[in-house]
């Protein structure tokens, strides 16, 4: 009986390991990094949106899977995202107010 339980637990652990997304995420991140380097040689109007998109995907993969935000409490995500929300006023100052002050 005890052996049976141990075998079942071992099988569950093996299944858990095989379901682990970490290796797949690591491979994606590495491949995307190589793609980014290739994309950086393209003309600016093509490369900028592509690089922003690839960078966003890479950062999201790390946050969602390595930092477990995909399965963790939404409270954590909320506090993390709050940082990004606080940046909006700064972004507005830099894109609207400062250019207006600098231009003659």
């Amino acid at each position: 009986m005890r052996e049976q339980i141990a075998k079942t637990e071992q099988a569950a652990q093996t299944r858990e390991k095989s379901r682990s997304p970490y290796l797949a995420v690591f491979v994606f991140l590495s491949v995307f990094t190589a793609i980014e380097v290739g994309v950086s040689y393209l003309p600016e109007r093509v490369k900028i949106p592509l690089l922003v998109l690839l960078s966003f995907i890479k950062a999201s993969l790390v946050i969602l899977y390595f930092m477990h935000l995909r399965h963790d409490s939404r409270l954590y995500a909320m506090f993390f995202a709050l940082g990004l929300v606080l940046i909006i006023p700064l972004l507005l100052i830099m894109t609207v107010v400062m250019p207006a002050l600098i231009s003659p």
Binding site: Q13, S20, Y22, L23, V25, F26, L29, S30, T33, A34, E36, V37, V39, S40, K47, I48, L51, V52, L54, S55, K58, A59, V62, I63, Y65, F66, M67, D72, S73, L75, Y76, F79, F80, A81, L82, G83, L84, L86, I87, L90, L91, M94, M98, I102
Partner: protein
């Protein structure tokens, strides 16, 4: 903290620690986003000067460094996975890998800085100031992460962590992954765009 207080909306102690870490990381988001936006503003204002500065940046070297940091993040998450299964040897081996990779990243950055200074870059340049300040602050975060990894490693060797108690590893992991996320953005903004 008992179950009743949890059901009333009060988080248990270990969840409070994690929430505290996420609030800290939210503050770090504001800090790094401000620095990066400032750099982007300078870059848009002075495109020619930036192109001159960028000529000396080595994309292949930093691409390798980026890969090293991503690999270290993978090893951090593997170390957490190991201790969650009660595998202390796995925790130790992966943390040793993290320390080795983190130190290699810093060595790569030191090599890059030396090369840039030899090529004539200066802390007083229009782009030298934000470049060295931001990559330096990030490098300092990596250095702090290395010390933290060392502390987690020693605590692990002393048997502080187990399958049931591994939050110390998890909190360190959150910090290290965040430093990785920041580098993902810096790599794109400084070297590729």
């Amino acid at each position: 903290m008992n179950e009743a207080s949890t059901s009333q909306g009060v988080l248990p102690q270990h969840e409070n620690n994690k929430l505290g870490m996420w609030i800290f990381l939210g503050g770090e988001v504001v800090f790094f986003a401000t620095l990066i936006l400032t750099f982007i503003f300078f870059r848009i204002s002075m495109p020619d000067e930036y192109l001159r500065f960028r000529q000396d940046l080595s994309v292949p070297l930093i691409a390798v460094n980026t890969f090293i940091l991503i690999a270290s993040s993978f090893m951090v998450v593997r170390s957490l996975e190991a201790i969650q299964q009660g595998d202390r040897r796995g925790l130790r081996n992966n943390l040793l890998g993290v320390i080795l990779l983190g130190a290699t990243f810093l060595a790569g950055q030191a090599f890059e800085w030396t090369t840039l200074f030899q090529a004539g870059a200066s802390l007083r340049d229009s782009f030298g100031t934000p470049f060295f300040a931001i990559t330096g602050i990030h490098g300092t975060h990596v250095f702090v992460g290395l010390i933290w990894a060392l502390i987690v490693l020693v605590s692990g060797l002393r048997g502080a962590y187990s399958a049931e108690n591994h939050q110390g590893v998890e909190l360190f992991g959150l910090y290290w992954h965040f430093v990785d996320v920041v580098w993902v953005v810096l790599f794109t903004v400084f070297y590729l765009i």
